[in-house]
Symmetry: C2
Subunit: 306 residues, 2 copies
């Protein structure tokens, strides 16, 4: 039977000024998945390593995403899904999105690519719906398309791929504490001041302009969030100290990844990123908090065949 | 004594999704101004044609803007300002901004250009403060810089110039009714739903992307405003009919210019713009409402020396 092995990348969504609409794709953090056709007309999760996650297809985001694709296509084919889970669930860097995106990408490939990458997004969103009760697209879109994805609209869904300035690097700190996406959403106020909203859209407009013009300093100045960060950052140990530290070491900007607890520092160039990473590491070691730390580029490609 | 004659362009601000942060510069609608050095160490409004506006420098936006520039520069030079006012005050296409921008541009030129165009923006904003009680920059910035201006931040002031897709045309309808900017602001709610705010910043991000990628269709889809337009459009006779009509004739988008009552239709190409203009004209004639109507390109240059 046909099979394919893919790399399903981690992603950083809710990028400061781009809350709910902007995410990007990391190039060296992600899961590995093997998808294999079976002759049982059934979608099965046959193996999960690295993490303890539901093996029942209807309770696993990858299973749900694939079933959503097959249903739309009217296909009764069956697939076995193996996941080597390297992205920790609940880390805030698109763990569920990677599984959903990787699975629909692989199945679509094995079926002869009936759908474009953009058309796969809604199927992967079905996985997100299961994971967090909210079918957001700002992780699955960059996981499938690579680079920066902007969600212009949800109804109808419209995703725009934005250019990636070549020297961008990201440092990701994952404090090993758990925040459920569902809980993290519930603390956000459902009304915002017009004044803060205006700041936010001014900054997002500038961020998009900076991506097109490779203006790294402007990227940094635009990475502000006066709406969600002030509330959510309270859940992250030493958020403001980390933000200050990162900027002192030269990071362009610093914010919460997804719904946390991971945080990201966006940097220009590998050297600055290494300095930022090392300082964060020293700081968190001194505080005695367990953590994972990544340094990654922004990948122009999403899910990749291995 | 040295003198200069300038064209001070009309501008369209609050461009739908870019409320308070985005404006653009028209190329064939504007005032003419003559600024002349005098030896009286005094700023004077010496002549105003076309409109009945304050001749006292401290009560005229051009006088206030120039005085703000001279004060900052520590200069005691005097200037006479003549304004041939072609943009109707209260029309919503930057009448006060044109006078303020034209005056500071001309005086700066006569003084040997101590300031860059961007540095002139705060002086012109002093004129806006007098006109509307609010020192907004989204008219004066495009009036000085040309093209599309995005205000990323007010404190500190940062204005970003965005590219202009070559085929963009604007039809501007000015229904001859009066809405004071001050009143038009007071009806806006000071809190908005997070949901609407997210739509707005998704659209603004997409609009900026479309300007860089010359994606006219995306420009049109992004020109939405779920926050201010629903409230302000009530003040404009037949707003929704005009919006529908314009889109049927091929306009990319349709919205309120500034704080109204003018409305704009953004179009790709002269021919579509002419169709839109003619339909609007027929419609408003039938309704028996007096109006002015303009068809203009977006100018890459702001104030121009004549």
């Amino acid at each position: 039977m046909k099979e394919i092995k893919v790399f399903a990348p981690a992603t950083v969504a809710n990028l400061s000024c781009g809350f709910d609409v902007l995410g990007c794709c990391l190039d060296n953090v992600g899961d590995e998945m093997i998808i294999r056709e079976n002759d049982l007309n059934e979608v099965r999760i046959t193996k999960i390593t690295g993490q303890d996650l539901p093996m029942e297809a209807d309770k696993n985001v990858a299973g749900v995403a694939v079933k959503s694709l097959l249903t739309r296509l009217g296909s009764d084919k069956g697939f076995d899904i193996e996941i080597d889970k390297k992205i920790l669930p609940g880390s805030g860097i698109g763990s569920s999105a990677a599984s959903s995106a990787g699975a629909v990408y692989a199945v679509n490939y094995l079926l002869g690519e009936p759908y474009t990458l953009k058309e796969l997004i809604p199927f992967a969103m079905a996985g997100e719906m299961l994971a967090s009760g909210n079918a957001h697209a700002d992780n699955v879109a960059p996981a499938l398309l690579g680079g920066f994805s902007l969600i212009r609209s949800y109804e109808p869904l419209e995703v725009i791929s934005l250019p990636v300035p070549p020297d961008l690097k990201m440092v990701i700190l994952h404090p090993l504490i758990e925040i459920k996406t569902r809980d993290s959403r519930s603390i956000i106020k459902q009304n915002v001041s017009l004044r803060n909203a205006i700041s936010q859209w001014g900054n997002l407009g500038a961020f998009v302009s900076a991506l097109y013009s490779n203006d790294y300093e402007l990227l940094g100045r635009s990475l502000k969030d006066e709406i969600v960060e002030p509330v959510r950052s309270i859940l992250i140990p030493y958020f403001s100290e980390l933000q200050k530290l990162s900027k002192e070491e030269g990071a362009l900007g610093f914010g919460i990844s997804g719904s946390g607890p991971s945080v990201f520092a966006l940097c220009k160039g590998e050297k600055v990123a290494e300095k930022v990473r090392d300082s964060i590491q020293n700081f968190y070691c001194k505080k005695g908090i367990d953590f994972n730390l990544h340094l990654s580029g922004i990948s122009n490609e999403g899910v990749k065949i291995l």
